[in-house]
Amino acid sequence: MSPEFVLGLVLILIGTVASAFPRPKTYLVQLINLEIPAWGLLLVMLSYNEALALLTFGGVSALSTFIYVRVIQKREGT
């Protein structure tokens, strides 16, 4: 088992706990914590050499952050 595989799985687990129950329970904190399991997944993909899936996942998670930030902005108002 390669180190990035183990690290990725651990990050997925930690990140899931962190963003399932964010400490100051605000939308923004949860959104930022979501990046941790995403990093874990990226490392797992890296250990299997799934480069193209990795790149696409990066692009798609950038897009989903756009969508979330828009909804949160609409909700919190200005």
Partner: protein, 200 residues
């Protein structure tokens, strides 16, 4: 391979249990929407553990389904809570006000067209997103929808060429690559246009 798979599946299943448990207790609708992204990580993780080329080809549809449904759901949420007419602030970053977006977008689009295929569409689409977010356009909405329809038709046509006249595989390959480039790019820019609403 065997051991890696079983340990990975164990940890990913535990992550899935935690995420779904959080969904059970959660009462707020927007928090639920955010948790959906978390839940999806565990499903992609299970697919990734397969470790073959097939796994990679299955991850791409999984990703696409997730992002598509997320966009539709976020719009339903905005309508249901009555936030339609609320103004979303544009990005007030100094670089974006200048000529930089034009240059960066042109570079990204060129690189994306060279890449072509799925990844190329993503890169070129990011370029368009960047431009639209900085400038805020909405008048080309119909045009975008039409382009997406045409790319979809190209795609289907290429699929039938592959299946029924496989001698022309190279033609079909190029049609498919161009179709998917257009498609991904259009979809990305569509979401950017929706972002820009209320800017003007």
């Amino acid at each position: 391979m065997w051991q890696e798979f079983s340990i990975g599946v164990l940890l990913v299943f535990i992550a899935a249990v935690i995420a779904f448990f959080a969904l059970v207790v959660e009462k707020d609708d927007l928090h639920r929407l955010l948790l959906l992204d978390l839940v999806e990580v565990s499903s992609l993780g299970i697919i990734a553990l397969l470790g073959t080329d097939l796994a990679e080809a299955l991850i791409l549809p999984g990703l696409v389904v997730g992002i598509a449904e997320l966009l539709a759901l976020s719009q339903i949420y905005v309508i249901k809570e009555g936030f339609r007419d609320k103004v979303v602030q544009g990005l007030n970053i100094e670089v974006i006000q200048a000529d930089a977006p034009l240059i960066i977008s042109v570079l990204l689009i060129c690189y994306g067209v060279v890449l072509s295929g799925f990844t190329g569409g993503g890169v070129a689409g990011l370029g368009v997103v960047f431009y639209f977010m900085a400038r805020g356009h909405r008048e080309h909405f119909e045009l975008l929808e039409m382009a997406s329809g045409i790319s979809w038709a190209t795609w289907i046509f290429a699929f039938f060429v592959f299946m029924f006249i496989p001698e022309y595989w190279m033609f079909a390959l190029f049609l498919a690559a161009i179709g998917i480039l257009l498609k991904v790019m259009v979809k990305l820019s569509l979401s950017a246009t929706i972002w820009g609403d209320g800017n003007e």
